[in-house]
């Protein structure tokens, strides 16, 4: 199954410790698995742009600059056998320690 990991910040998590950040180890581990993997970090919400079309009119706005304490800081798309495997992989991501990871299964069009 294909899962998307939303790597999120969490205001209640312990402070980020660069010395404990082993993201390279994690990426290497994930790259060594078979199946799809694609991921990256994301620029903060202040660099977001929102696009809408209403009645044929294009609307482009900067933001949204909502006052959320939690935002998406990165993403990964990973093939896993099942949810337990996805949970295991997510649990080893450094941001599981200073943030949180939301796992969402892909919903393919049949």
């Amino acid at each position: 199954m294909e899962y998307m990991f939303f790597v999120c910040t969490d205001a209640t998590a312990p402070a980020y410790d660069p010395a404990d950040d082993d993201i390279e180890v994690w990426v290497a581990e994930v790259e060594n698995r078979s199946g799809v993997h694609y991921g990256n970090r994301l620029r903060p919400p202040s660099d977001a742009t929102t696009v809408k079309v209403r009645d044929g009119e294009l609307g482009v706005t900067a933001g949204p600059f909502t006052e959320t304490a939690e935002w998406i800081a990165g993403y990964d798309v990973i093939d896993c056998a099942d949810l337990d495997e996805a949970i295991e992989i997510a649990s080893r991501h450094p941001m599981a320690r200073y943030g949180q990871i939301e796992i969402r299964p892909a919903w393919p069009f049949d």
């Binding site: 056998a81 099942d82 949810l83 919903w107």
Partner: protein
């Protein structure tokens, strides 16, 4: 055949069989088809057929085997008819001979199926499901209760419960929750998740034994039955045994907790002759000796065992109970555990020492708004002869008490100290 029997007897035999065989039948069918709903439907169809056939043919000598065979045949039937793209059919197509042999072979089931039932329990209690969902699915799939029975027990409408079950099965499928016993390095956490579901069922049923909700009382038996099954499947797990012991020791006291007028009776004043001796000895036997690092259920069971083995309240080993609570405060810290520890300290070292601990809890703001805090303070103040303060605390406890039975109990206490 054992004769034709009355409709009541037949319905009872069918219900009993459903309770006893549900986990076996459903877990086998889920493993082979990967489909919770299909497995449950096949069991229901078999039970319906039993209610239709048994009045004519009589209840079979082995109703469990009968139900199992009918449910399996129904599954084979449905799978053969199922559309080609379904997962179950692909699985059947991969290993038709093996699956067919398993479906046909009822005799080997203990060897094969014991694991299946454990798998089923772990899947139903997966942490990626909400607690409500876990409870509902476990009762439906492992315990074999009907949706209507579960809805009644949790005081929700039947369509609401049906919707919850449908969503839960869909979530298992959509999120990819595997049908598998967890890996050894996750076993302890996952087992704790299962025990939490079983204990929640038990406390829901146990609270009901005081009479607020007769409908929930069967949950007590279901919880014990399911925990017994877990102990049977994980015989070497001390926490599973601890939980079963705890349930049995508490259950042994349940009739003595309420007098003939429906009033609450405290542990101290209960007629110990009314305690269920068989349940007590079964509970104690599960706890023959204590390993150096016990878990939360094992510790609580040992505390219950201290009460169960004392001839009366006065001869209870409260010093040992305090030590057990010390450990419990480390393993599973909570304000309620601390409060119970304070009561045990009061019993072994004097009410004043206990009261100081309770005051410490109150000063931290722990348990504020909970009736147990003023009720405990009131009791200790009463023992110390500070009756006016005790009356004030009974009054605040009364205002916070959640049930009528508890309010009446506190009223009686209030009347005593006001005299």
């Amino acid at each position: 055949m054992t004769g034709h029997g009355t409709p009541d007897r037949i319905a009872e035999a069918a219900a009993r069989t459903a309770a006893e065989e549900s986990a076996r039948v459903v877990s086998t069918l889920i493993r082979m088809t990967g489909d919770f709903a299909l497995a449950e439907d096949c069991l229901q169809d078999a039970l319906t057929k039993a209610l239709r056939d048994w009045p004519k043919t009589g209840v079979p000598n082995n109703p469990g085997a009968w139900i199992t065979t009918v449910a399996k045949n129904r599954a084979i039937d449905l799978l053969r008819r199922a559309s080609a793209e379904s997962r179950a059919v692909q699985r059947l197509a991969r290993e038709p001979a093996e699956t067919q042999r398993e479906l046909d072979n009822g005799d080997e089931r203990d060897a094969v199926v014991a694991d299946d039932r454990l798998t089923l329990i772990f899947t139903c209690c997966h942490p990626a499901l909400t607690m409500d969902a876990r409870v509902a699915l476990t009762l439906r799939t492992v315990a074999g209760l009907t949706t209507a029975e579960i809805a009644h027990a949790f005081l929700v409408a039947e369509p609401t419960m049906e919707k919850r079950l449908v969503r839960t099965r869909a979530r298992i499928r959509n999120t990819g929750i595997p049908y598998r016993v967890p890996s050894p390095d996750r076993m302890r956490e996952r087992r704790d998740g299962v025990l939490a579901v079983l204990y929640l069922l038990f406390t829901a049923g146990y609270g009901a034994a005081t009479g607020q909700s007769v409908l929930r009382r069967p949950l007590l038996d279901d919880a014990i039955r399911l925990t017994r099954l877990l102990v049977e499947l994980m015989p070497d797990d001390p926490e599973a045994r601890g939980l079963l012991a705890l349930m049995l020791l508490q259950h042994a006291r349940s009739t003595a907790r309420v007098d003939s007028a429906g009033e609450l009776v405290t542990l101290e004043q209960q007629d110990r002759g009314q305690w269920d001796a068989a349940a007590t000895s079964e509970g104690l036997a599960l706890l023959s000796r204590r390993p150096p690092r016990a878990g939360r259920y094992e510790l609580q069971a040992h505390i219950a065992a201290c009460h169960a083995t004392a001839t009366d309240a006065e001869h209870t080993d409260f010093a040992r109970i305090v030590l057990l609570y010390d450990e419990l405060c480390v393993v599973a810290p909570s304000p309620v555990v601390e409060l119970n520890r304070a009561v045990a300290v009061a019993m072994s070292q004097g009410a004043a020492v206990g009261l100081a601990l309770v005051d410490g809890l109150a000063a931290r703001g722990a348990l504020s708004g909970h009736h147990l805090l003023p009720a405990t303070r009131a009791d200790l103040l009463r023992r110390l002869g500070r009756l006016r303060e005790a009356a004030r605390e009974y009054e605040s406890a009364r205002q916070l008490a959640p049930t009528e039975a508890e309010r009446r109990y506190l009223d009686r206490r209030l009347a005593e100290v006001a005299e």
